[in-house]
């Protein structure tokens, strides 16, 4: 499966997302967003699992994300 980047609004939310996803069994890393998404200096979480499932998990925990990109 490809890497999927969830762009986050802040490093704090990126860390919070990573911690939460790790705690429920999903591997996740925090990385600099690899392309300019408009506002600059962004952080993303990178996952290899189904992005729809990950998105659902983040929404369940009220962790906002800005966009989803696959590379």
């Amino acid at each position: 499966m490809k890497n999927t980047f969830f762009t986050m609004s802040s490093i704090t939310y990126a860390m919070k997302a990573k911690e939460y996803l790790n705690s429920i069994g999903y591997h996740c890393d925090v990385r600099r967003t690899p392309k300019n998404t408009g506002s600059g200096c962004g952080y993303s979480i990178v996952v290899r699992d189904d992005p729809d499932i990950i998105a659902g998990q983040l929404e369940r925990r009220n962790i906002p994300y800005k966009g989803i990109y696959s590379y």
Binding site: M15, E19, C41
Partner: protein, 387 residues
């Protein structure tokens, strides 16, 4: 005088000594955390960001907040300024208590001069209901905020902050709670009417100086009083809107914050109730000792955090503190940056001397202080009482 031999009974200004774990964690952070947290994608930056996040989470759990609602600030004064000015930037009415530190009264005074803010000062009575009713009577249609200390930095008097919070919740008004003396000994948490908790790192949380927390319940958005680099939304001129970066412009004090996180863990492990019990016992011992010397103890009958404010007959508070310093004991005399509180206490001219132990203070140290005071002040007060 060798300051290393000085016994610190001025822990209300900053706990010292610090726990070994705090000292070691700060040293370790300086040695190993070289990156600027949230300021890059390289390994050093991410490593520092992960460590900072762990501190943020520990603080959030300690004060009952969501992680993103914990903002790191340089000290409690910054937290109070950011909360009060962030709420009142466009005017309106604020209520403060008559027991506030200058870190509340001065920014509020500045707001009244510059922003057209109106302020009422509420009296605090021994009777909680009377205090809360008094505050409620001061609420107006344009009241936006009540700001009050949980415990006085002068006498330690505990204000009815939970009841004031309930009132604020019922009247839908923000409540900013100054927890400079309460954090680490009283179980203060955001929610149930407490909108913001402002905390210094270097006092009851046993962290280093230069650290502090502004903890929010998430119910009220603050306007910023400082803008700048946040590591997020860098392509835009408008300040980053997300918490906590919104309130954290500029580089964080990584090593200090790591120490603060370790301090919070220290307090959790010791247990707030145990810390309070130990310090309160030392205060009782000290109080009984100085009353035998004829000292006047303030707010003696009030519920208090572990602080004893007193004066010795025939001496100004500064003279007493200076004499104790010569004997190797650090106690603070004067006004304690709290003119309003001293005015309420009736010590506006004279000030008072403040004794405040920490979890590391011992009975033997208190007895040594009392012996010294007996030598220096006992004779004088006995002569004074005969004339």
């Amino acid at each position: 005088m060798d300051s290393r031999k000085t016994v610190n009974f001025d822990n209300s200004a900053g706990t010292y000594p610090k726990p070994d774990t705090v000292r070691k964690s700060v040293a370790d952070a300086i040695r190993t955390l070289g990156g600027n947290p949230g300021r890059g994608g390289h390994a050093l930056s991410v490593q520092a960001a992960e460590r900072i996040y762990r501190v943020r989470k520990a603080a959030a759990q300690f004060f009952g907040a969501e992680t993103e609602n914990v903002a790191f600030v340089p000290n409690c004064t910054y937290a109070l300024n950011m909360a009060v000015k962030g709420l009142m930037q466009s005017g309106g009415h604020i209520i403060i208590s008559g027991w506030e530190h200058n870190s509340v009264s001065r920014p509020v005074y500045a707001l009244t001069r510059r922003n057209g803010v109106k302020c009422s000062v509420a009296e605090i009575y021994p009777d909680t209901q009377r205090t809360v009713e008094g505050i409620e009577k001061l609420i107006r249609s344009d009241t936006l905020c009540v700001c009050c200390t949980a415990a006085s930095n002068v006498t330690g008097r505990i204000l009815p902050y939970s009841e004031i919070a309930e009132l604020c919740k019922r009247r839908r008004i923000a409540f900013v709670c100054d927890c400079a003396q309460a954090a680490g000994v009283l179980p203060v948490r955001v929610g149930n009417g407490i909108s913001f908790i402002c905390v210094p790192g270097q006092k009851g949380l046993y962290g280093p100086a230069g650290t502090g927390l502004l903890v929010s319940s998430g119910e009220y958005a603050l306007s910023t009083i400082i803008e700048g680099g946040t590591g997020a939304t860098s392509g835009e001129l408008v300040q980053t809107p997300q918490m906590p970066e919104k309130l954290e412009s500029g580089t964080l004090n990584t090593a200090g914050l790591v120490g603060l996180g370790t301090g919070i863990e220290f307090v959790k492990n010791r247990g707030m109730a145990n810390i309070l019990r130990h310090e309160a016992e030392l205060c009782r011992r000290f109080e009984q000792g100085i009353e035998r010397l004829g000292a006047q103890v303030y707010d003696r009958e009030m519920p208090r955090v572990p602080i004893v404010a007193f004066n010795i007959s025939g001496f100004t508070s500064e003279e007493t503190a200076a004499e104790l310093s010569r004997g190797g004991f650090a106690l603070r005399g004067g006004m304690h940056c709290a003119a309003l509180a001293h005015e309420s206490l009736g010590t506006g001219k004279r000030g008072a001397v403040r004794f405040s132990p920490s979890v590391f203070s011992t009975q033997a140290q208190v007895d040594a202080l009392l012996n010294f005071m007996e030598q220096r002040f006992g004779k004088h007060t006995r002569e004074k009482s005969r004339t």
